[in-house]
């Protein structure tokens, strides 16, 4: 083990579970916390290095090879279409991308939603979804509080991630169609996956064992 494995971890809801899971297979370091002042945390003994990154940046770090591997939601992967290896479904962080409208604006068929505006943080996925339905929609890219779109008249629909559906209810929105479900994934840089294959293969095998144990 002469070379480091660099791992990009996403801040936010996937962070704690990622750190805990990796620790179970021996990939840990002192003070790997979300609010860490240090941006890079190394464990010299086990040759592991952690980068704590903004969620949407994790695939970029991995694609460039700045990190060998990373943990990221499938939703972000589908949105960004980066050239990385998707190694393992980690099962946690389950969420759903769906299309919703205000209760009052509900229409009969999906195709009745043509030529409306959709607010979303996922413009790429939203566009692909509407294309698949064969309808045109104007996509309004927002960076947060997507539910606000229909309330303030910015859009007629939203395409957004839901976990429990509570925010939808609170804002009097109804889900019209589910687009996909997503969970956290372990991803790897293409070159790292070949050049550090033995170590990464072992990591995946170990993680599978832990995940199977937890599923029981």
């Amino acid at each position: 083990m002469d070379e480091y494995i660099t791992i990009a971890l996403p801040k936010g809801k996937l962070f704690d579970k990622s750190v805990r899971l990796l620790a179970k297979v021996g990939y840990s370091a002192e003070n790997v916390t979300e609010d860490s002042r240090k941006l890079v945390i190394s464990n010299e003994e086990t040759k592991v290095r952690f980068i704590i990154a903004k969620t949407v940046d994790v695939p970029t770090y991995v694609e460039y090879g700045a990190a060998d591997i990373g943990i990221i939601g499938k939703d972000v992967l589908l949105e960004q279409d980066k050239d990385v290896v998707e190694l393992l479904d980690l099962g946690f962080g389950r969420c759903r991308l769906m299309m919703a409208v205000p209760e009052a604006k509900r229409r009969e068929k999906l195709t009745d939603y043509a030529h409306l505006r959709a607010a979303t943080k996922y413009p790429h996925c939203a566009k692909a979804y509407f294309n698949k339905l064969g309808i045109q929609a104007e996509i309004v890219k927002l960076n947060g509080s997507i539910e606000l779109g229909p309330i303030v008249g910015l859009s007629e629909m939203i395409v957004d991630i839901v976990e429990t559906g509570r925010t939808l209810k609170e804002n009097k929105l109804v889900e019209v169609d589910s687009i996909f479900t997503a969970t956290a994934r372990l991803i790897a840089n293409r070159a790292s996956f070949k050049l550090k294959f033995a170590r990464l293969h072992k990591l995946v095998e170990d993680l599978r064992i832990v995940l199977n144990e937890e599923a029981k």
Partner: protein, 389 residues
């Protein structure tokens, strides 16, 4: 007076003095190896009619019209133009043709370090030869070219389209499932492969396991031997034998240390029919070279002819070598010839003599005194001074 800053278009870049010098050295080293192995260099147009690149072309092409409204495309790949050239201009003559090129290619890319919309490839095509000897030759030549360029640490992953197709056959896949399989492998989606395996019915558990682990089928000869004991489809078995023969030959060449098998390797170009490979370096996050066998492509140009080859990304190699600290942008000439007032004619003769001796010479354009000349040597990036007085 204007404040406009003139920019180059998105995805293009200037190569500056010094940078270009070290790049030219690398290019020459690579093309020099191709020549040593008996490859003829050719040059094709930077743009072609769109049908050279197949019906649909590729996403990200740069396209435009000529004056007769024909659709043209800036080439995004060299294999198709070389196939066209061979079928239309070199038809006949020797049965085996060895061609090589150094060319700019164009493809719309989200730009990154080592990934631009205009990029340079050096490559070879070995046309007319089927069989492991030709495949081994191009793999070893790729390694030799990289070594000549100064690359020391690299790894070659070798796979086979026949293995993938054979397994799809063994699993009884229809056209849609084959497409799904190819798409999963192309996206390097191990999770997708797991899901595909889980949904397969009426299939031997060993084969199911291969599908589930497709991206992890990496290793040495022992991996081939293990798979030979499991797989029964003749196409897949033939692919494994083919890989073994290629490996044995590469070993004879003394290059096997760089080689490992990667049976889930599937490249984004869909014309490959046999072995295919990619080369990686630790300094760069994506492959620096790749290639494979494409026995059906020439048919499209009216010549039935097996072929194999590879291309390496010159920009990526240069970048990797810079990162590894192997090359530095350096500007250096041997001699500065300076002269005192009225001595220009003698200085010209002196410079000519030195160049005849094989030295690189800069000749001052104005008279200088000796102290001025002595301090100018460094500024002119020369190693020594000859002062004519």
């Amino acid at each position: 007076m204007t404040n406009k800053v003139y920019q180059v278009p998105y995805g293009t870049k200037d190569i500056l003095p010094g940078e270009m010098k070290s790049r030219r050295r690398i290019e020459n080293a690579i093309v020099g190896v191709f020549d040593k192995w008996g490859y003829d260099e050719v040059k094709t147009p930077d743009f072609e009619y769109v049908d050279t690149f197949g019906k649909g072309g590729t996403k990200g092409d740069f396209r435009f019209f000529d004056r007769d409204n024909n659709l043209l495309v800036l080439r995004n790949d060299m294999t198709a133009p070389i196939a066209r050239l061979t079928a239309t201009r070199l038809n006949g003559g020797e049965k085996i043709k060895r061609l090589c090129y150094l060319a700019n290619l164009y493809r719309y890319e989200e730009i990154q370090a080592g990934r631009q919309c205009q990029f340079e490839q050096a490559g070879v095509e070995l046309l007319g030869a089927s069989g492991a000897a030709a495949d081994a030759e191009v793999i070893v030549l790729a390694a030799a070219a990289l070594q000549a360029a100064g690359v020391q640490k690299f790894a070659i992953s070798l796979g086979h389209v026949g293995f993938i197709n054979g397994l799809a056959e063994e699993a009884g896949f229809g056209a849609a499932q084959v497409k799904e399989l190819q798409s999963c492998l192309r996206r390097h989606d191990a999770v997708g492969m797991q899901q595909m395996a889980a949904s397969m019915e009426n299939i031997r558990p060993e084969i199911k396991e291969i599908f589930a682990d497709f991206l992890f089928l990496q290793g040495g000869v022992e991996l081939l031997e293990r798979l030979q004991g499991v797989v029964t489809n003749p196409k897949a078995l033939h692919a494994l034998e083919d890989l073994r023969s290629i490996y044995d030959l590469v070993e004879t060449y003394g290059a096997a240390a760089h080689l490992s098998f990667d049976l889930g390797l599937y490249r984004s170009l869909d014309y490959y029919t046999g072995m295919l490979f990619e080369v990686y370096m630790p300094e760069i996050g994506y492959p620096i070279a790749g290639g494979g066998r494409y026995d059906k492509m020439m048919q499209g140009f009216g010549l039935d002819c097996p072929a194999t080859g590879f291309a390496l990304g010159v920009d990526r190699v240069v970048l990797a070598l810079e990162r590894a600290g192997v090359v530095k942008a350096e500007r250096r000439w041997d001699v500065l010839v300076a002269w005192s007032e009225g001595k220009l004619l003698e200085a010209i003769t002196k410079a000519a003599d030195l160049r005849k001796e094989g030295r690189s010479v800069k000749l001052c354009t104005e008279a200088m005194d000796l102290t001025g000349a002595a301090s100018a040597v460094k500024e002119y990036c020369c190693s020594s001074l000859v002062y004519v007085s």
